[in-house]
């Protein structure tokens, strides 16, 4: 008796679930978001979600997107990938087959964007990753050619690695660098290798090239090794949750060398976790909140008014990703996956809040400039621009 009651309840729950998702609604445009809401980089996911909701609210307040002779509202379906590669892939699968979204924004970190991109490519759905800078994300793993449905709104690591290597050589004028990076993460590994290559080509020397794996907390052994080689600068192309640990441990080991970082530093969380220890260090990133154009200023003010914090690079790039999707929907004139992809691939130039993006034919990577920021009294301040 009891068992059959439970069975019936289960059946009811299951059927509710099925009814809930099979309801097809063509009166709105569904866009999927995959964000790192929990896991190791939740600040990134939160920024992505905030910016996505803001972009959708703005377009819906204006009545929606004009397709043909009617305006359609945008509906967001936000999935949490929990900071896991497998969950990123399954979220993409769910958005494509169950929710039937027209396009996907996210995931942000390269190690999660890569598996989701594989699913989106085979499902023939546009995926724009706001923050994945690893070249592999938009490239076919077998042929090395560009994927057809995968785009991004950020620059790629070979460019960022070159910018940083040149910056260290030309602006900081030091020729002995050490690198400590996460060998288990796509992004960190890629940028560390590119930095080393470009730096050594241009007359610098990488005296220590040390590694660790994701979730390590103790870097004392590697840092002691680095200290032994007496570098002039230490490059940490690692995520904002790990960088403070590395810098604080280094200081406790008596290392006084300055540090430099990449766009993975660019979260307000870095300042919270690092305190004073990160002051006076430089990192490269996508945009500077304190030196910007009118459109960017408006975005920053709206975001501040809505969420109470300065938007970080993930927020700005997510907002631009939505801008790209909205524009391609308008150009395509219909709520259709293939038409959106074709329209997106033909956008020659897009003026976003993170600057001017130019897409080359057949490639999902925009050409855009980078900025170097300095951490000063617990704030990110603009220091230099780097043209593509």
């Amino acid at each position: 008796m009891k068992k059959s009651a439970i069975f019936i309840i289960l059946l009811v729950i299951l059927s509710l679930g099925i009814c809930g998702c099979s309801k097809d609604d063509s009166s709105q445009i569904k866009i999927g978001v995959i964000a790192e809401l929990t896991g190791d980089i939740p600040a990134v996911g939160a920024s992505c979600k905030n910016a996505a909701e803001m972009a959708a609210a703005e377009i819906n307040d204006a009545g929606g997107i004009q397709l043909g002779d009617k305006k359609y509202p945008v509906k967001l379906i936000i999935e949490d990938n929990a900071g896991k590669a497998d969950q990123s892939a399954s979220s993409a699968q769910k958005l494509i087959t169950q929710n039937k979204v027209v396009a996907i924004v996210g995931p942000n970190a390269s190690r999660y964007a890569l598996p989701a991109a594989e699913i989106a490519e085979s499902g023939k759905v546009v995926l724009i990753t706001p923050w994945s800078t690893a070249p592999k994300t938009t490239l076919d793993s077998k042929t090395g050619a560009s994927k057809k449905y995968i785009f991004r709104s950020c620059f790629i690591d070979p460019f960022q690695g070159r910018v940083l290597a040149k910056f260290v050589l030309d602006n900081l004028k030091v020729k002995k660098a050490a690198v400590l990076y996460d060998v288990a993460s796509e992004y960190n590994k890629g940028i560390a290798e590119i930095f080393k290559e470009i730096y050594e080509q241009n007359g610098g020397k990488v005296v220590a090239f040390e590694t660790y794996t994701t979730n390590d907390k103790d870097f004392s052994s590697q840092l002691t090794k680095i200290k032994q080689t007496a570098p002039d600068i230490i490059f940490l192309p690692n995520y904002y949750s790990e960088v403070p640990l590395q810098i604080q441990q280094a200081k406790r080991l008596g290392i006084t060398t300055p540090f430099i970082g990449s766009d993975s530093w660019g979260s307000e969380e870095l300042i919270k976790l690092c305190g004073k220890d990160c002051n006076d260090y430089y990192f490269s990133t996508h945009y500077a909140a304190d030196a910007s154009t009118a459109a960017t200023k408006k975005f920053i003010e709206d975001y501040k008014a809505k969420y109470g914090t300065t938007p970080d690079d993930v927020a700005a790039l997510t907002y631009d990703s939505f801008g790209l999707i909205f524009q391609s929907l308008k150009t395509a004139g219909k709520n259709d996956r293939q038409a959106v992809r074709d329209a997106l691939a033909k956008i020659p130039q897009y003026e976003g809040v993170t600057g001017n993006m130019q897409f080359k034919e057949g490639s999902g990577d925009p050409v855009k400039s980078a900025v170097i920021l300095k951490v000063k009294d617990g704030k990110f301040t603009w220091f230099a621009n780097a043209k593509p």
Partner: protein, 291 residues
Amino acid sequence: MAYLFQQALNALQLGSIYALIALGYTMVYGILTMINFAHGDLFMVGAFFCFLLAVYLKLSFVPTLLFTILGVAMLGVVIERLAYKPLRNAPRVSAIITALGVGLFLENFTLALSPYPKHIPALIEHTTWTIGTVSISSLQILIIVLSLVLMLILDFIVQRTKAGMAMRAISWDKTIVPLMGVPVNKIISLTFAIGTGLGGAAGMMYGLAYPVIDPYMGIMVGWKAFISAVVGGIGNIRGAMIGGFILGAVEIMVAAFFPSTYRDFVAFTMLFILLIVRPYGILGKPHPQKV
């Protein structure tokens, strides 16, 4: 030479934290022959208690340490009463699965409160002394000394007090000892309290040494401490301490002299070999199964 000395200091710091956590595994195993897989997560809860006490109540170092130990110890006792005691006579697999479940509960409960990594403020003045090329920080000394003191206290309780004698007696024989008038439930609760309390203290010290904490921090550290306990001979308290220091030393020294990518690989291979030579651990005694 200075380099070696510096790495040895790093190893002592890491090893003393592993040893403190390993003690919790080994004490519970010794008395219940059950592996408390939630122990790594209790360690994590210790770090979060420390965070809450230090940030919201603005307590200084000593009260934070005492309340963290007390809080985690109480949580350990409650978990034992609610989750493990009803299963004491069930097959051992059920107890292990329950322990894993409790661990997942603790992780996801903390995650539900807030997914953001937290920063533990420096509760003691950070000073770094440099002698030649060797740097010693006040924190390093604190962690090593405090761990050793806690381990000495534990050793004293277990070897020299009546309660300790009862613990050793229960781990020796669970059927006869209750007949001698030993309050088994009380002693088991006490064991849990001490074991998890030490885990909590380790969580706090880990949080001070590596001040970014998150709900998943206990998983890997927990595994490593468990391995330390097995290497030292699970169930043997001095073995757990030795095991912790050995694992810390192996990890640091491998990264010091090989490419750091090989660290876990080489460290765990060495431990495998050790276990092949001495399957019952360094100080463990073989227990032949009687038919």
